[in-house]
């Protein structure tokens, strides 16, 4: 199995993360999603998948500020979170194809991918469905006296789910080490968030006494910095935080959502792809800061491509689960 690299570790608050690895991870997600889309188009991947291309800055910026033993919960649009938290692409592809070698033995698929070893408590196909889980993990952390933190990734659509307010209230009351990261990609399915969100989004957290920050989700540095601050506070008992990250999904709501004209314009899509791409933006300052050059980027892209192609190959060749697996794992 090829090994996609683990979450970049923050060695110290001063030194900051390894930005090359940050870049690599974003690129990995981008190329992963392209392959997922391709597998779907070629009818090798069953079901649907929700791609996160365009949103890599959030997943990577957040997870870069986390430790391996920190928890995340993810969404239906969760490949990026999973990779950013350190999962291997090969076992992820295997899961997407329903193979036994997948993270969930093929039982979960794209919408339920979880990676116990890296603290990914799972994607969730219920909008807002993992908010309770993440907040409960934070309660568990506190009860165990650990200095882990939990991150709950949610979409802007999850602001519609009442459970968010229930758990934010308890997280605030009990000063739980949890960070709610909301990926505002402007749409929930085929409806603009502006039609479904009244008032100022971050006030939905501050109303509960939770510090909230608006973050440019396309700037991985900004995401990292905001997360690192929230994580530091949470680790030291300072309680929850809420990050409202503006971002954009390039693909449709799911892989099959191709004709999008009725809910958003080509121009808008183009703007984000061309002007606000988190990977291109990172590349500019990485080059400017001398952290990478054209040659090293080329090399890196080749490496990632190679790894992902190998991962796809592995997954396609991998066997399906045995029929007897259908009845296992119902009870623990």
């Amino acid at each position: 199995m090829s090994e996609i690299q683990a979450t970049p570790q923050v060695t110290s608050a001063e030194s900051g993360p390894d930005w090359q690895r940050v870049y690599r991870l974003m690129l990995t997600i981008r190329l992963f999603e392209e392959r997922a889309n391709d597998l779907y188009q070629r009818k090798i991947m069953p079901g649907l998948a929700h791609l996160s291309s365009g949103e890599e800055g959030v997943a990577v910026g957040v997870c870069t500020a986390l430790r391996d033993d920190d928890y995340i919960t993810s969404t239906h649009r969760g490949h990026g979170h999973c990779l950013a938290k350190g999962a291997s692409a090969d076992r992820m592809f295997a899961e997407l194809l329903g193979k036994a070698a997948g993270y969930c033995g093929g039982k979960g698929g794209s919408m339920h991918i979880a990676d116990q070893e890296r603290g990914n408590l799972g994607a969730n196909a219920i909008v807002g469905g993992s908010l309770g889980i993440a907040t409960g993990a934070a309660l568990s952390i506190k009860q165990r006296g650990s200095d882990q933190v939990a991150v709950s990734f949610i979409g802007d659509g999850a602001l519609g789910q009442g459970v968010l307010y229930e758990v934010m209230n308890m997280a605030s009351l009990w000063k739980l080490p949890i960070i709610y990261v909301c990926e505002n990609n402007l749409y929930g399915e085929y409806t603009a968030s502006s039609e479904t969100i009244a008032g100022r989004p971050i006030e939905r957290a501050t109303a509960f006494g939770i510090p909230a920050t608006e973050v440019d989700g396309q700037d991985v540095r900004a995401v990292y910095a905001a997360t690192a601050e929230a994580v530091a506070r949470a680790r030291s008992g300072g309680g929850p935080a809420f990050l409202w990250c503006s971002t954009y999904r390039y693909f449709g709501h799911h892989v099959g959502d191709v004709d999008r004209g009725y809910y958003r314009s080509r121009e808008e899509e183009q703007f984000w792809r061309e002007q606000r791409d988190p990977i291109s933006l990172a590349r500019v300052w990485l080059e400017a800061d001398g952290l990478v050059d054209a040659a090293s980027l080329e090399e890196l892209a080749e490496e990632v491509t190679h790894e992902l192609d190998a991962a796809v190959e592995f997954a396609v060749a991998a066997p399906f689960p045995n029929p007897d697996q259908v009845a296992t794992d119902v009870f623990a």
Binding site: P46, K107, G108, A125, Q325, V326
Partner: protein, 337 residues
């Protein structure tokens, strides 16, 4: 078919079930200005299954309302609107999301009429889906009609054909009680004749989808298709299945089920909910009790396996009742194996 011939005097045309449902709702919206639709992505998107395409264009956004992703909230609002002069059709995109709204459905909608001593009523229709086999995994594949069928005060509809879907939907919308209407995702593209002229179908009347004398197959929703195919196979072996479709679990046409089994002396129940504590258990119990003295063999039940629906196609396909599984069961029941 014991149901009124769809083309007795008038014209008919072939529609998909999705089209038939849309037509029913559109007709009722034209007929009664208090009917409106509410749910996620019901307007321009016309739902992910495109069942409601075109409605917002005809009726406008005041009557085809896109909501936030707030199932408990807008279902509750449907209850309140229904109590105050409207006839809401609330869309719960996937039946799995019933978990979010059972309080609104079971504690509010179902009970308001009774608790108020009949003074208030809730003419609410909740449309939702059921059915697996789409590689949608455990949280998008459930058939949870057992939950609502268990709660007094709710009517529950499970159409199996475009014809039934249209006629039952119109009745559901006109009903003064809350009705939960389950649409099997696998049925949406199924085609069938639907009359041009208006018609309705009463709730609580089972339909014999295929007459037969050897064994009764009681099938619901998309399982009717499975039963019809199985009956075809079995007919070639000389086993004549009577396929009975209750069409509504509440009210339940107990008599029709019992009478059929009384004639055939054998019964299999096929329902796509999980086998245990599911709708199939009630149907089997009703027949076992009501036709006890006629039964030549125990009533058999087929349902989804008692496991969360797995993603992997090779596993998912094992979980739901199949034509082959039903054929085998009937053969065994008739001592042909």
């Amino acid at each position: 078919m014991s149901s009124p011939d769809p083309t007795p005097e008038g014209e008919s045309r072939e529609l998909t079930m999705a089209q038939a449902i849309r037509e029913a709702i559109a007709e009722e919206m034209r007929r009664d200005s208090s009917v409106f639709v509410m749910g996620e992505d019901v307007a321009e998107a016309g739902t992910p299954f495109k069942v409601l395409s075109g409605l917002v264009e005809e009726f406008g956004p005041e009557r085809v309302i896109d909501t936030p992703i707030s199932e408990p909230g807008f279902t509750g609002m449907g209850v309140g609107a229904a109590m105050t002069g409207r006839r809401p059709v609330v869309d719960i995109m996937f039946g799995d999301f019933l978990g979010l709204v059972m309080d609104q459905v079971a504690n509010q909608a179902a009970k308001v009429h009774y608790m108020s001593g009949g003074k208030l009523s809730v003419p609410l229709t909740i449309r939702t889906t059921m059915g697996a086999s789409r590689r949608s995994a455990a949280q998008h594949s459930q058939s949870l009609h057992a939950w609502v069928s268990h709660i007094p005060g709710l009517k529950v509809v499970l159409p199996s054909t475009p014809y039934d879907a249209k006629g039952l939907m119109k009745t559901a919308i006109r009903d003064n009680s809350p009705v939960v209407f389950f649409e099997d995702k696998m049925n949406y593209q199924q085609r069938g004749q639907v009359p041009v002229a208006e018609y309705t179908i009463p709730l609580g009347v089972a339909d014999i989808k295929r007459p037969g004398k050897d064994v009764t197959v009681i099938a619901t929703s998309s399982m009717v298709l499975v039963a019809m195919e199985a009956a075809e196979v079995l007919a070639q072996e000389g086993i004549e299945c009577e396929v009975v479709d209750p069409r509504t679990t509440v009210p339940l046409d107990r008599e029709a089920l019992i009478n059929s089994v009384g004639r055939t002396t054998r019964a299999v129940v096929v329902d796509e909910g999980h086998r245990s504590y599911g709708v199939g258990a009630e149907l089997a119990a009703v027949v076992s009790e009501g036709a006890f003295y006629f039964l030549d063999a125990p009533v058999r039940r087929l349902g989804a396996m008692d496991v969360p629906i797995p993603f992997s196609p090779v596993l998912e396909d094992l979980t739901v009742p199949t034509v082959q599984g039903l054929v085998d069961t009937v053969r065994e029941l008739c001592g042909r194996k």
